[in-house]
């Protein structure tokens, strides 16, 4: 059963420019799907549409988002908010700005539980300590009482990960969670996310532009270009040989440490033009 089902989602800016072009995407319960594409391809936009945090200038103009079989757009804003708060969580990109600098860390983990889901404060705090242990943070008591600026970037990301799993969500959207981190920390965090996902059996939509990360964490992936789904397949078959020329070029462009000189190839212009033509043709269908 698909926990998340996105059907023909179209998001446009207020001047009409399409950001997402009839995107369809499914995530099964407990599945890890990677959402891949270059910067600006619209991968973050999909996550934002689901979470209900699209930028003010963007609007959902077509399609549906079904969460656990329920169409989110049929809900009132308040219901939608609460549904997402209870069932979905976000692991944000930049740990240095995603925590409120004026509040201690502890309440930022427990707030969702206490305020939105009506947990008792002591239960919520116990849960927070439990989670901090899961993400391998030493002296969780001290950390709970700390302010974000007292902690390192890697530590903050762990806290954000712990916070995401707090309400035992069925779906987590990770928006390039390792991009803003140092390379050495990236590996640890990736490993941690995989560990947490396996333990909690949460569905994970992992947004990234890094194909190396995709192979380490996901079972399936969706490739996006200019807001349009280009290819959707399992990770195994993708790395064995993708079908779409753009995907192939993308794979070829990934640096491999086994062949450093031979692999810094940008996506060739011919491939770009071809996929752009594809998108333009699609748009004509969309608007015509």
């Amino acid at each position: 059963m698909n926990y998340l089902s996105i059907r023909d989602l179209t998001v446009r800016l207020s001047n009409g420019l399409p950001l997402l072009r009839k995107v369809s995407l499914d995530v099964e319960a407990g599945e890890v799907r990677a959402l891949v594409g270059e910067s600006g391809a619209g991968k973050s936009m999909i996550g934002k549409a689901v979470l209900g945090i699209l930028p003010r200038a963007a609007r959902l103009t077509g399609g549906a988002i079904l969460l656990d079989g329920e169409n989110l757009e049929t809900l009132s804003p308040k219901e939608r908010r609460q549904r997402i708060g209870a069932k979905v969580a976000l692991i944000p990109q930049d740990p240095l700005t995603a925590l409120n600098p004026s509040r201690r860390v502890g309440p930022q983990i427990t707030d969702r539980l206490v305020d939105i889901l009506d947990w008792k404060r002591d239960e919520a705090e116990a849960r927070a300590l439990e989670l901090l242990n899961e993400v391998h943070i030493q002296s969780p008591d001290r950390v709970m009482k700390s302010y974000p600026h007292e902690l390192s970037g890697g530590m903050r990301q762990r806290i954000l990960i712990a916070s995401a799993f707090a309400a035992e969500p069925k779906l987590i959207i990770a928006d390039e969670p390792t991009t803003a981190l140092d390379v050495t920390v990236q590996k640890q965090i990736l490993k941690l996310i995989r560990e947490m996902q396996e333990r909690h059996q949460t569905a994970l939509l992992f947004v990234t532009h890094d194909l190396g990360v995709v192979s380490k964490i996901s079972q399936s992936l969706t490739v996006l270009y200019a807001g349009k789904v280009i290819e959707e397949t399992s990770v195994r078959s993708f790395f064995a040989g993708p079908k779409h020329p753009y995907s192939r070029a993308l794979l070829a462009a990934t640096p491999k440490y086994t062949d450093p000189d031979g692999s810094l190839m940008p996506v060739p212009d011919s491939v770009i033009s071809a996929v752009e033509r594809e998108v333009a043709a699609f748009d004509e269908q969309l608007n015509g």
Partner: protein, 336 residues
């Protein structure tokens, strides 16, 4: 310890400022053309009488000498004697200071309430006509000084719809015996709510006149600050947790937005206190400012010096308080 060093430097500059203010006032009013002594004497007074009074008030000595005497006395708590009322300046000032303090603090509270609520509302409805309307109202409040607001309020609520008092501090018909000069505070403590209501009825109009320009500034600053905060990542994260826009603005954005606004509010509060001079006159409110005007008109030198010194002290105290509050509230500075 860096905090102690910073505090000592602040203290030093404060003292320099106060001294500077005292010097300026002292010397400026001694260039006064009018002879204060002459105003007090009955016609037919002799040269000897004038000379005697001059000596009594130390006006026969050189100006720097007079200053030295005055400063040393002040540091011992002796502010001199008022020429017009023959009472100690200290008593007169202490007598009127509570009234001005109560009025200023009330005005501050009104300003924060009005300005803060308006800023929060404008942020909640940002991009809509509501925000536009609030901006216009704020712009108007900003361009008009307390003096004009005072007059407008007198017309509106004193004459047109007489809901509030436009003169004095308390209705004499109440016949209430105050032990201190903090009328409002005392009435509250003694649980005399009828007196409290009467006092508020007298204070509301002058306090509102003082508050409106400050409220407009708070509105502008806080709104700007809030709007910037609303773009931050932790706000977006809070939305995904299920919080409503209102609680996000008040719970997450506000604590971050308040800090930069605080220091400017402190400076503006000193302007508000300065405004009590004319507002008290306008509403015949028996405070320090009102007494100051008479002191100047009557060339009562010791009284003028005393009042100006007290105002200067008050201003520097407010600035100090604001800086301390800022340091206390900013988590980053606390651990620095």
């Amino acid at each position: 310890m860096p905090i102690v060093r910073a505090l000592l430097t602040r203290l030093a500059t404060t003292i320099v400022t106060l001294l500077g203010a005292a010097v300026i006032v002292f010397f400026v009013i001694r260039i006064v053309p009018g002879n204060p002594i002459a105003m007090m004497l009955p016609p037919g007074a002799t040269e000897a009488d004038i000379a005697r009074l001059k000596t009594l008030y130390g006006l026969d000595k050189s100006i720097p000498e007079q200053f030295w005497i005055w400063i040393t006395n002040v540091l011992q708590g002796d502010f001199g004697t008022s020429i017009t009322t023959r009472q100690p300046v200290y008593d007169l000032v202490i007598g009127r200071l509570p009234a001005t303090l109560e009025l200023s603090v009330m005005a501050l509270m009104i300003a924060v309430l009005l300005g803060g609520t308006a800023a929060l509302t404008a942020t909640l409805y940002r991009g809509t006509r509501v925000e536009g309307g609030i901006d216009v109202a704020g712009g108007m409040a900003l361009s008009l000084p307390d003096f004009l607001w005072g007059l407008a309020l007198i017309l509106l609520f004193g004459v047109l719809w007489p809901l509030f008092h436009i003169s004095g501090r308390v209705s004499p018909s109440l016949g209430f015996d105050f032990h201190s000069n903090f009328f409002l505070f005392e009435a509250l403590i003694r649980l005399r709510f009828d007196v409290v209501l009467d006092l508020l009825g007298h204070m509301l109009m002058p306090a509102l006149a003082l508050a409106l320009p400050l409220a407009a500034i708070i509105l502008q600053l806080l709104k700007q600050s809030l709007k910037e905060c609303m773009h931050d990542d932790y706000i977006t994260l809070a939305r995904t947790k299920g919080y409503s826009e209102t609680s996000i603005i008040t719970r997450d954005a506000l604590p971050n937005a308040i800090l930069p606004t605080l220091t400017l509010i402190g400076v503006q509060f000193t302007f508000l206190i300065g405004g009590t001079v004319i507002i008290e006159r306008l509403f015949s409110y028996e405070g320090l400012g009102n007494m100051a005007i008479d002191a100047v008109i009557n060339r009562d030198l010791p009284l003028i010096q005393g009042i100006v010194l007290v105002f200067a002290l008050l201003f520097t105290l407010v600035n100090l308080l604001v800086d301390m509050t800022y340091a206390a509230l900013n988590p980053r500075l606390r651990h620095a």
